[in-house]
């Protein structure tokens, strides 16, 4: 899948891509002959062939399926129902429950994560002894798979004998049935996401911090700005495109959240808890398609997820543009 969440997350591009360089007419004629040729298509062909077969065609087909009443066992047939699936989806309490959970888990998992990553990057930006060690260790959760991380954390958050409850009891607090509660289960899932991604985002911020020209800090120093003021007025504004980018990428990941809620109870149930207290949109879509065999409904949910992502990216792009204009 070219669009797997992991891959998207890795797309650590800090700013929107520059417009593709058009051949400027001022260039010498010789250069144009050398680089302007049809071979370009041959080079991009393998990418686009795979892309067309396994991404573009599926996207379109998903849209088509979402307009049908069909099931997995009946993959070629199905009856045309127009927008019925979308109407049903918008009236379904399961959809709104999953949408709400996706939103709250998304906020719980993204906001503290990015704030901590920013602070961590700031610390990593000092001249440290053992710098490579700290950076590598902080990236280890990123190398751990969702499945492995979730299995471990679901044990740590276990009701009986879970290490976290053992500790809570040791300091005289009450044990928590993490999986059963709405807030507690969502916090626990957010902790897994945060654990996996904080170090990664810290490295992205660190890279951006290191490309801030030192003169900016020197100037701030001369003006008598404290370290904290420097962080607020030099570091944060310089990082704005990167921060915006990580917000977009994290949000796209949050909308697709699937593996953590699937495995959190340990046994891979698609309901997201006994009362769906941590069922996300990704999980709902999987349940509709692969537990209930309502492929049309699942396709509709998938498109709804895409729409949500488009809105989020659009809003972020607008905010980014407005702020950039305000700076000018």
């Amino acid at each position: 899948m070219t669009i797997a969440s992991g891959t998207v997350r890795e797309a650590a591009i800090a700013a929107p891509p520059p417009a593709p360089a058009a051949t400027s007419p001022a260039r010498p004629r010789k250069r144009r002959q050398l680089t302007r040729n049809r071979w370009g298509y041959a080079y991009v062909a393998p990418f686009f062939l795979v892309f067309a077969a396994f991404s573009l065609y599926p996207f379109m087909y998903t849209a088509w399926v979402s307009l049908h009443e069909t099931s997995l066992s009946n993959i070629n047939g199905g009856t045309w129902v127009g927008l019925d699936n979308y109407r049903n989806l918008l009236q379904s309490e399961f959809f709104w429950n999953a949408a709400r959970n996706t939103l709250t888990i998304g906020i719980l998992a993204t906001v503290p994560q990015l704030c901590m990553a920013l602070g961590l990057a700031h610390l990593l930006n000092y001249k440290l002894r053992g710098r490579t060690f700290f950076r590598t260790v902080m990236l280890m959760p990123y190398a751990t798979s969702i499945a492995a991380a979730t299995l471990v954390f679901s044990q740590l958050f276990g009701r009986e004998y879970g290490l976290i409850n053992t500790m809570l009891e040791a300091v005289g607090l009450q044990a928590i049935d993490w999986e059963a509660g709405t807030v507690s289960s969502q916090v626990a899932i957010a902790v897994i996401v945060t654990w996996r991604w904080t170090g990664y985002n810290a490295l992205i911020y660190l890279a951006a911090m290191q490309s801030i020209p030192g003169e900016l800090y020197e100037a701030a120093e001369i003006d008598g700005a404290s370290k904290w003021k420097q962080f607020l007025h030099v570091t944060i504004p310089s990082l704005r495109p990167t921060i915006l980018f990580t917000i977009v990428v994290s949000t796209i990941g949050a909308v697709q959240l699937f593996g953590e809620p699937l495995l959190f109870a340990g046994n891979g149930t698609t309901s997201g808890g006994s009362s769906g207290q941590y069922q996300t949109l990704g999980l709902l879509m999987y349940q509709q398609g692969w537990s209930n065999f309502h492929i049309g409904q699942a396709a509709t949910t998938a498109w709804a997820m895409f729409m949500i992502i488009l809105v989020i990216v659009g809003v972020n792009a607008v905010i980014g543009r407005l702020r950039a204009r305000a700076d000018r």
Binding site: R36, N125, P141, G214
Partner: protein, 303 residues
């Protein structure tokens, strides 16, 4: 965030002197060259412990019996029962097969992705052809599309082709990556001088000859970074393999997902299995960690 020609900003020492860096950062080792105090080290050590602890706990819990982990206070050191639990985990889930499958799948995906993305990245960086801008926006646009949008038709497709439970079902759809194309393009724009291409062309080399003998050698460092990141992502890929494969022929992630679904889940066996499935990446990560860190940071400055 301009397209800087600085390769790994990891230490700053790696920067070749020839890099045309017009906007280099003022201080070596970061713009804030201050000396860290004990508070900084304490905080960082704390974060490092939190990062490692769940993995360490996997080892501890995986090396005790259920009763032993349930004791108060719980054990904090690994124990020799680890190998019994490994054996039990291997009985319950085909983790050995899963590791071989994951190596095959991730290896194929890595080779394909690096090759195809270098080809396309080169074309987008250095060749002119009609519709280039549009195609490039298409590549970038795909990064926003959720996996969920593709899995239904893909599942129908592999069902039709009778590929369910076969490895090519998880290899082929993941053979290219939009991020990879963009990553290679950004690298080649700055790293590959046009003069070199022209020299090759003047010597009468064919376009593909130029690719193999000029572009690939220049692109090698970025290809290595892309390979590591792709392998890691492919190894950890969860959603699509879970749909396309079953525990009869799983990748590591599918096998792990199946581990916990027994009627009486045995915590220590699950942990031992998780450890087995994670060990290969952790070993690779221990060896190549520094390069992976550099690669991620490099990806962040490009663009």
């Amino acid at each position: 965030m301009a397209t800087l020609a600085i390769p790994a900003t990891d230490t700053g020492r790696d920067t070749p002197p020839a890099a045309p860096a017009t906007r280099r950062r003022g201080h070596r080792g970061g713009s804030k060259a201050g000396k860290p105090g004990p508070v900084t080290y304490t905080l960082l050590t704390l974060v490092a412990l939190v990062s490692i602890f769940p993995l360490y706990w996997t080892l501890v819990a995986g090396s005790h019996t259920n009763a032993e982990i349930a004791a108060t206070p719980p054990p904090f050191l690994p124990n020799a029962s680890l190998f019994d639990n490994f054996r039990a985990a291997l009985d319950q889930a085909p983790i050995g097969k899963a590791i071989i499958n994951s190596v095959l799948v991730s290896g194929s995906i890595t080779v394909g992705t690096v090759l195809f993305c270098t080809l396309a990245g080169f074309a987008f960086a250095k060749l002119q052809f009609r519709g280039k801008g549009l195609l490039l926006s298409l590549v970038i646009g795909t990064m926003m599309v959720p996996t969920q949008l593709a899995v239904i038709p893909l599942f129908m497709m592999i069902a039709e082709l009778q590929w369910v439970n076969q490895l090519q079902a998880v290899i082929l759809p993941t053979l290219v990556s939009a991020f990879g194309v963009f990553f290679m393009r950004q690298y080649l724009i700055s790293a590959l001088p046009n003069e070199l291409l022209e020299a090759g062309r003047v010597d009468g080399a064919s376009t593909f000859r130029i690719f193999w003998s000029i572009v690939v050698p220049v692109a090698r460092p970025a290809m290595a970074v892309l390979a590591m990141l792709t392998f890691l992502t492919a190894w950890n890929e969860f959603f699509w393999p879970l749909i396309a494969l079953t525990t009869a022929n799983p990748t590591v992630q599918v096998a792990l997902a199946g581990l916990g679904s027994g009627y009486v889940p045995q915590r220590s066996v699950i942990m031992a299995g998780t450890l087995l499935g994670t060990l290969p990446v952790l070993i690779v990560f221990t060896i190549l960690g520094k390069q992976i860190v550099g690669g991620i940071m490099q990806g962040a400055v490009k663009g």
